[in-house]
């Protein structure tokens, strides 16, 4: 007998799965079979999707997930300025060929996944959810990275400021830090502002 308690599914995962119909989905593809098949199946899943062509980044500024037909970007040199450093939405590349030009383009766009046409209805739901989940995770990592970088930069600056004050006042590094902290308290400012001022002035303000 197997007796188990409910798997401890991550809350954010079960929330995503429960509310996938709320995802804002947009299809960047010209009118035609691919677009119709995808729209129809998304509708079957209870999702709604807007479509447009040519692929304008403004049209997808406020959506959660984008399907993009990649071939025209190569064949007709249709411009598409997707910010891979800070993408506005999850990206699923619609692939109708697998040749190296298509593959390179898809990789360069840093799509979260691809979907093949002709469309196979099986797999679309999991593709949408996995892509969106991957996108959110990447977004979280990006934000964490930015925070950590800021903290590192700040701590490097603090070391620099400690050295400046220590030399200027003729005290130890620890005493220098205490002086910086005291200065911040006296002036009711943040330590980072005093540190910035020290680095600029060469002494405590």
């Amino acid at each position: 007998m197997k007796s188990e308690h409910r798997d401890k599914t991550d809350r954010s995962i079960s929330q995503l799965v429960q509310s996938f119909r709320n995802l804002k989905i947009h299809i960047l593809a010209p009118p035609g079979l691919e677009t119709n098949d995808i729209s129809q199946h998304l509708r079957r899943m209870g999702c709604s999707a807007t479509t447009s062509w040519p692929p304008l980044v403004e049209d997808v500024a406020n959506v959660d997930l984008v399907f993009l037909l990649v071939r025209p970007l190569i064949e007709d040199q249709v411009p598409f300025d997707w910010d891979t450093e800070n993408p506005p939405a999850a990206l699923i590349a619609i692939a109708d060929y697998e040749n190296p030009l298509m593959v390179e383009k898809t990789l360069a766009l840093q799509a979260q996944s691809t979907i093949a046409t002709p469309l196979r209805p099986f797999g679309v739901l999991i593709d949408v959810l996995l892509s969106y989940s991957n996108f959110r995770r990447e977004e979280t990592r990006r934000k964490q990275n930015a925070k950590l970088k800021k903290r590192i930069r700040m701590s490097e600056k603090v070391e620099e400021a400690k050295l400046i004050v220590a030399r200027h006042e003729g005290v130890s590094l620890d005493q220098a830090y205490a002086a910086i902290r005291q200065c911040a308290m006296n002036k009711r400012l943040g330590i980072d502002e005093i540190v910035d001022a020290v680095v600029v002035r060469g002494s405590l303000p």
Binding site: M1, K2, S3, E4, H5, R6, V17, Q18, S19, F20, R21, H41, R43, R44, M45, G46, P121, F122, L125
Partner: protein, 363 residues
């Protein structure tokens, strides 16, 4: 399932077949061998000229046949309730999905029972999804089922007493049971042998049917509840007539059940589509099936163009002393299938107590 199909084919042929041509039924039984399902489905299409296949029960067998009909341009008619989240242009789904059985049962449980519902099911995909779906519906505001057990299909009968005692030890108000096959018989019979009381601890199921009751005995089943679009006792004129004709055909002991009714209806829907399109080509037949209606034993059903599933009439039945179900709740109108519905779905149905069932509700 096979008897239903056979019977329906005999009715179609008796009525003149398809524009004069008789339907020929070729039957294979793959047992429980998954690989054999795919192999025989291929054989039917490649060697026997079959294009329309009726059958399969478990999700794994449906998938095996689905991939054959998708590849070889056939059409599978699937009559069984299942976990949903599937679509194929080569499959017509005739059984209930969660918003046509589980949702109504959850509503009934919330209205008539305490919150502690133990869950037990067979250990494969469908019961696991079914348990999770019920738990999400019942425990939307927090909490969890007191037990959540999945049994191997070959769990020996001797183990059931321990399992039942364990369930009872958690003081549940009800048991949600999605076992299949012989496990159902073991579970209900051992429940009965332990002297448990269905009025205090009802078993709720999406699968337990007249066939299972015939095997376990009416006494073991009495008082327990099943949610399904169809019971043999459904009081539509179509059903009363069909059951009579079926018993004339097979014998008066013959029973019908939810899968029987779906299989029966699907044969007639297919026959009508073939007549309408004057073709046996699966694409033509499928096109004629989209939106097609049929006065089924359960009521007027319709094949949903969006999903290839079927509009059905959810019902709730309580097993009685005669081995049949008393229908204690029925849908006011047919419910559109929503196979991709999340666990907790918007309520788009309404259930009523059937006229004449009011006496039951005094319990």
């Amino acid at each position: 399932m096979f008897k239903a199909t056979q019977f329906a084919v005999s009715e179609v042929n008796a009525a003149g077949g398809i524009n004069g041509e008789e339907l020929e039924l070729i039957h294979f039984d793959p047992g429980s061998d998954l690989v054999y399902y795919g192999y025989l489905a291929e054989k039917l299409i490649a060697e026997h000229g079959v294009r329309l296949i009726f059958g399969s029960y478990r999700s794994s067998t449906r998938r095996a046949v689905k991939s054959v009909v998708e590849r070889m341009n056939g059409l599978l008619f699937y009559p069984t309730q299942y976990e949903g989240f599937e679509y194929s242009p080569n499959v017509i789904y005739g059984g209930a999905v969660a918003n046509q059985n589980s949702s109504q049962l959850a509503e009934y449980i919330q209205a008539t029972s305490g919150r502690r519902i133990a869950m037990i099911g067979a250990d494969y995909i469908w019961p696991r999804v079914a348990s999770r779906t019920m738990a999400e519906q019942l425990y939307q505001d927090g909490g969890a089922p007191p037990t959540d057990i999945f049994l191997n299909l070959d769990t020996p009968r001797e183990d059931y007493d321990t399992i039942l005692k364990h369930i009872v030890s958690t003081s549940p108000d009800g048991i949600y049971c999605n076992l299949v096959g012989p496990s159902i018989v073991h579970f209900y019979q051992r429940y009965h042998a332990l002297g448990l009381n269905p009025d205090e601890l009802p078993i709720y199921s999406l699968t337990t049917s007249e066939t299972d009751i015939a095997m376990m005995g009416a006494e073991a089943a009495q008082g327990h509840v099943t949610a399904a679009p169809y019971f043999q006792s459904v009081q539509t004129p179509e059903n009363q007539s069909v059951v009579q004709r079926f018993q004339d055909w097979l014998g008066e002991e013959a029973t019908t059940n939810m899968v029987w009714e779906a299989a029966y209806s699907q044969v007639h829907l297919a026959a009508n589509a073939m007549r309408l399109s004057n073709s046996v080509d699966p694409s033509a037949v499928r096109e004629a099936l989209m939106g097609a209606e049929f006065r089924a034993p359960q009521g007027l059903i319709r094949i949903d163009e969006d999903t290839g599933h079927t509009h059905l009439w959810p019902r709730i039945g309580r097993a009685n002393a005669k081995g049949q179900f008393d229908v204690i709740r029925e849908a006011v109108s047919s419910v559109k299938p929503d196979p991709y519905s999340p666990f907790v779905c918007e309520k788009n149905w309404s259930m009523r107590i059937p006229v004449g069932a009011l006496g039951e509700e005094a319990l």
